[in-house]
Symmetry: C2
Subunit: 316 residues, 2 copies
């Protein structure tokens, strides 16, 4: 059995599960940082002990612990560097602390990689030999499963949100220009929508004002036939396709698995248009066999990401 | 000991060598296709037998045979499909034929992958864990060594010449628009040069007329201070950098190894400018550790590509 933690944007998911993805006990709670990382980690350890007891798992049956955390992390030192949602955390030696608490190997993984592993092991990417996962959330993170294992490169591989899709284009949150994320990341798209949405568009009505417009309102308005929303979604799909075309030629994967916004837009509004654009812009010998799927774990994703981070212990 | 063949643009390289890259015998000759693939392969087998005798290697000491061939190849069937320089070849079962002749395992690899392996095992990329090789020749092929082994994806990985660098940009030889190769491939750049080179530029003088202008004349003219040549080379480096930036964020490799044109342009005219552009357009945490090197095997490359294709037998 394994214990896993997923440190999310606002919530912490904790899970006790096995190799096959059977979850024996789980818990989700607000991050609730104390300002002191030692206290925060002790609370996480206490959570895990309660879940182990709840599942009837003795600590000596525990094979490893996994932690999925927002970057930057330092895999060599086993530290979480400065997650935006954990006040007071800086270079926290989480691998050492969990290792001392449980006496088992601990694996620390960045959240996008853990989510990619989760979709590959338990979600939309099961059975794929080569999978590229894109988070498609606030930002655009990525995780690469190549030849049946996570590929990390020199540590920072899979930062697919920062592939240039428009050289010298719009400024990204990262400070560079023309990144994929600058066009299709949730935060950047939201900023654009709040700037360009006409006051009389369906998007503005659904959002309660153009200044509150968000991607979810575009998706809803497209379903109602709104032309502005349609143009915005087309633009979003077009830029996303640029990124996928480059990734297809570089990696020739079996499948792209797309998260949050793409999953919300679904087959008709996102996946089908992307398949058409890929067919037009990638050689058939590569493009024809590449699947494009929505992430399937949804709200359960963090539990499986936590478990998948733990399962990497067995793969090391 | 290993026997390797490299089927090049005009020449065939044949080699007898060992695991460490020591070459016991070698031969290069024109491709000289008979129009009958069986005759061509019999001639190749005869070449190899002569080289084995010359090196004093008995056939029962042979561990495997490698063939590097231009794509498309079919790795599953072990066939060379239709190499442009071998008249009459179509779906030639080269793995079966060499296997029958020598009674050892045979590995067939596409030429860009074999060249990448050669630079990784014996050339500029020795010791790298993650290497991206770009041919930078007539076209822009690529080979990816990730986590210390060749990554092929579903079969077509590493087609980095067709990553889009200018959406809806210039038409590439492959029929798509805006591919990296459309801007920095030797054939495409040559076509452009013969169209845009001013009659009074140093490039035209060195080429014996603008209509004969080639990349080598640009490189020579830049060294003489010619402004037109400088602008052309800057443009070439700029587009190449766009490709490398995307690859850096996707793969986070240890090193890029660049062939032919980049190697001819060298440190000052190509590698240094590329390093500066990468530093400007890739996060330091990724870009700072990525080396950019010229391929170092040069004219000897085909021998090492042939040997490297054979060494893949041991890696299967």
């Amino acid at each position: 059995m394994w214990v896993g933690f997923d440190i999310g944007g606002t919530k912490l998911a904790i899970v006790v599960g096995d190799d096959d993805g059977h979850i024996a006990a789980r818990r989700r709670r607000p991050i609730g940082a104390h300002g002191d990382p030692r206290e925060d980690v002790d609370a996480m350890i206490a959570d895990a002990r309660e879940l182990l007891a709840e599942a009837g798992v003795r600590e000596d049956a525990l094979r490893g612990v996994g932690v999925a955390a927002p970057g930057p992390i330092d895999p060599a030192r086993g530290t979480v560097e400065s997650p935006p949602n954990l006040a007071g955390w800086a270079s926290v030696p989480i691998v050492d602390w969990f290792g001392e608490a449980f006496g088992v190997p601990v694996h620390l993984e960045n959240d996008a990689n853990a989510a990619a592993l989760a979709e590959w092991r338990f979600g939309a990417g099961r059975g794929a030999r080569h999978l590229i996962y894109l988070t498609m959330s606030t930002g655009v993170g990525g995780g690469l499963v190549l030849d049946g294992r996570l590929y990390r490169g020199a540590g920072g591989a899979g930062e697919v949100g920062h592939i240039p899709v428009e050289w010298n284009g719009e400024t990204c949150g990262c400070g560079l220009r023309g990144c994929l994320e600058a066009y299709v990341g949730g935060r950047c798209w939201t900023q654009r929508l709040q700037r360009v949405t006409p006051a009389d568009s369906r998007v503005a009505v659904l959002a309660g004002g153009a200044a509150q417009a968000k991607p979810e309102h575009v998706i809803a308005a497209v379903r109602e036939g709104d032309a502005f929303a349609r143009a915005e979604l087309d633009r979003w799909n077009d830029y996303l396709a640029r990124g996928l075309v480059g990734l297809a030629f570089a990696f020739d994967p079996d499948v792209f698995v797309l998260g949050t916004i793409a999953a919300a837009a679904g087959e008709e509004l996102c996946l089908e248009p992307l398949r058409r654009k890929l067919a037009q812009n990638v050689w058939p010998v590569i493009g024809d066999h590449i699947g494009i799927r929505a992430a399937s774990l949804g709200d359960e994703g963090p539990y499986y990401a936590a478990l998948s981070a733990a399962l990497e212990v067995a793969d090391r």
